[in-house]
Subunit: 262 residues, 2 copies
C-alpha cells in the first residue's frame, strides 16, 4: 500500500461520506470561481479515488442539478459541470471559515438575554435560535455576533470584556458530540500528516484535499464561527484547523487544467 493509498484509507475512516456532499466539496475546493468547469471525466477519475462507482456519481450529479447546485454543459460526447449562482454563493459563504480566513474576536460577540415571556411563544428567543447565527447557552441566554444578531428591543445586549469565559459556557457552545468529533478528527489528521506522499500527482493532491476539506467542514460548519476564547479548553478545534491549513498548503491546489490534461 503506497503512502497515498494509506492517506486516503485514513481519511475514508469514520462516518460514511455521501457522494453528492463530496462532489460539493470538490467544486468548493477546485472550481469556486465563476467560469470554472470540471469535466465529467475528471469528476469520475477523482471520485474513483474514493472507491465511488460511476453510477453513484451519476446519481449524485443528477441530484445536485435538481437541487440547483450544479449545471452541466455538453461538449460533443463529453460534458462539463459547474456551480450555479446559488452553488457559487453557498460555497463563497463557507470558504472563509474552511480555509481559516476568519478570526472572530470576543469583542465582536455579545450576550443576548431574552425575556422569559418570549420563550414560551414563537418569540425572539426561538426566532434567533432557529436563525443559527446565535448560540443558545441557557434558558433565556444566547451568544451572537454583534453585527449579525437580529435582536429586538426586547433583548438585553451586553458585551464581553477581557475576563475568561467560564467553562460551563464553553461546554454549551461546543457540546460533547462536537468535542469527541474534534478529538477524532485531530487523530485522523495527525495520521494523514505522517503518511502524506512527498510527491503526489495533481489528481492525488485533489483527492486528498477533497477528503481533508470534507471532514473538516463537516464538523466545523456544525457550530458558529466563534472566537478562540469560546472553545472548551481541551477542545481540539484550533489544533485541527492548524493541521488542516498546513496539509492544504503542502498539498498545493491543482489547476483545473492539470486535472483534465491528466
Amino acid at each position: 500500500m503506497s503512502r497515498y493509498e494509506q492517506a486516503i484509507d485514513v481519511l475514508m475512516q469514520g462516518d460514511r461520506h455521501r457522494v453528492w456532499s463530496l462532489v460539493v466539496t470538490i467544486f468548493g475546493d477546485l472550481a469556486q470561481n465563476k467560469g470554472d468547469e470540471i469535466a465529467a471525466q475528471t469528476l469520475g477519475r477523482l471520485t474513483e479515488q474514493f472507491g465511488i462507482k460511476a453510477e453513484a456519481l451519476r446519481v449524485a450529479l443528477h441530484r445536485l442539478r435538481k437541487d440547483g447546485w450544479l449545471e452541466s454543459k455538453r461538449l460533443g460526447r463529453s460534458s462539463t459541470y459547474f456551480l450555479t449562482d446559488f452553488g457559487l454563493e453557498q460555497s463563497a459563504l463557507a470558504t472563509p471559515r474552511i480555509y481559516g480566513l476568519t478570526d472572530p474576536k470576543i469583542s465582536d460577540w455579545v450576550l443576548l438575554t431574552t425575556s422569559n415571556a418570549s420563550e414560551s411563544r414563537e418569540g425572539d428567543a426561538t426566532k434567533i435560535d432557529k436563525d443559527g447565527r446565535v448560540v443558545r447557552i441557557g434558558a433565556q441566554i444566547y451568544l451572537g455576533e454583534k453585527r449579525n444578531c437580529p435582536f429586538s428591543s426586547n433583548t438585553l445586549v451586553t458585551n464581553f470584556d477581557n475576563s475568561p469565559v467560564p467553562d460551563w459556557v464553553r461546554d454549551q457552545i461546543i457540546d460533547a458530540k462536537l468535542m469527541s468529533g474534534y478529538g477524532d478528527l485531530r487523530q485522523q489528521l495527525q495520521n494523514v500528516a505522517s503518511t502524506i506522499p512527498l510527491q503526489a500527482s495533481p489528481i492525488e493532491r485533489a483527492a486528498l484535499r477533497t477528503l481533508i476539506v470534507h471532514s473538516w467542514r463537516r464538523i466545523l460548519l456544525r457550530h458558529a464561527d466563534i472566537p478562540k476564547g469560546f472553545y472548551p479548553q481541551s477542545c481540539k478545534a484550533v489544533e485541527c484547523r492548524e493541521i488542516v491549513l498546513r496539509l492544504l498548503a503542502d498539498l498545493r491546489r491543482p489547476e483545473l487544467s492539470e486535472l483534465s490534461d491528466h
Copy 2:
C-alpha cells in the same frame, strides 16, 4: 388644623410606622455624628408629634439598646441617647442613598450569568442572591455592581453598553409592589409639599423631616441602588427622590441644641 398638622397627617397615612424604626430614623437624620446625643425629653417631644405615647417610646428605646443600636447615659434625673458604633455604621451605610448623594452609572453595573448547575444546589446563584448586592432578573441571570459582586470564576460577567435596558428587565428589578409603593409615596409627597408650613419650629422641622426620610428610606432600601436607566419608565422613584430632596432642603435640619433648648 394647621398646615403643620395637615402635613403630619398626610405623612402618617398608609403603613403603620413602628416606633423603634422611627427612632432609628430620628438618630439617622439628627444625630449621626460620633458624639451626637439626644435627650430623652427631646425624643419624647419629637415622637409625641406622631401621637406616640411615652410608654411606647420607652419600649422602643429598650429594644434598640438591647439590639445594640443605641446606648444611653444618665445625667442627674434625665438621660441622653446616642448611636453605638454599630448604629453609626448602619446609619452611615444608608445615608448616601437616602440623601441622594449617590449617582450609580450603568457602566458600573454588570450582567452576571451563572451556570444552570449552581442553581439547584447552594451554589453561586443562591449565594449572590442572598447577599442582596445583586438583583435577580432570571433563572441564571443577575445584575450587580462591578465592584461589589462576589462572583466566582464560574460566573460569566458581561458589560452594559449605551443601548437602553429592555422593559422586562426593568420590571424584574422594580416589581409591581415597589412600583405602586413609589406611586403612593409620590402622591403623599406632593400633598405634603402643598401643605408644608412656611414657618416651622425646630421641633416641627425635625418631626416632618423624620416622617419624610422614614417613608423614603423604607421603600428605597428595599431595592438596590440602581442607575436611572434600570427603573421602569413609569416608575416614580426618580421623581420621589427629587421631591424628598427639595422638601429636606426647605425643612432645614435643626441643630440638636435648638431642639433641647425648646
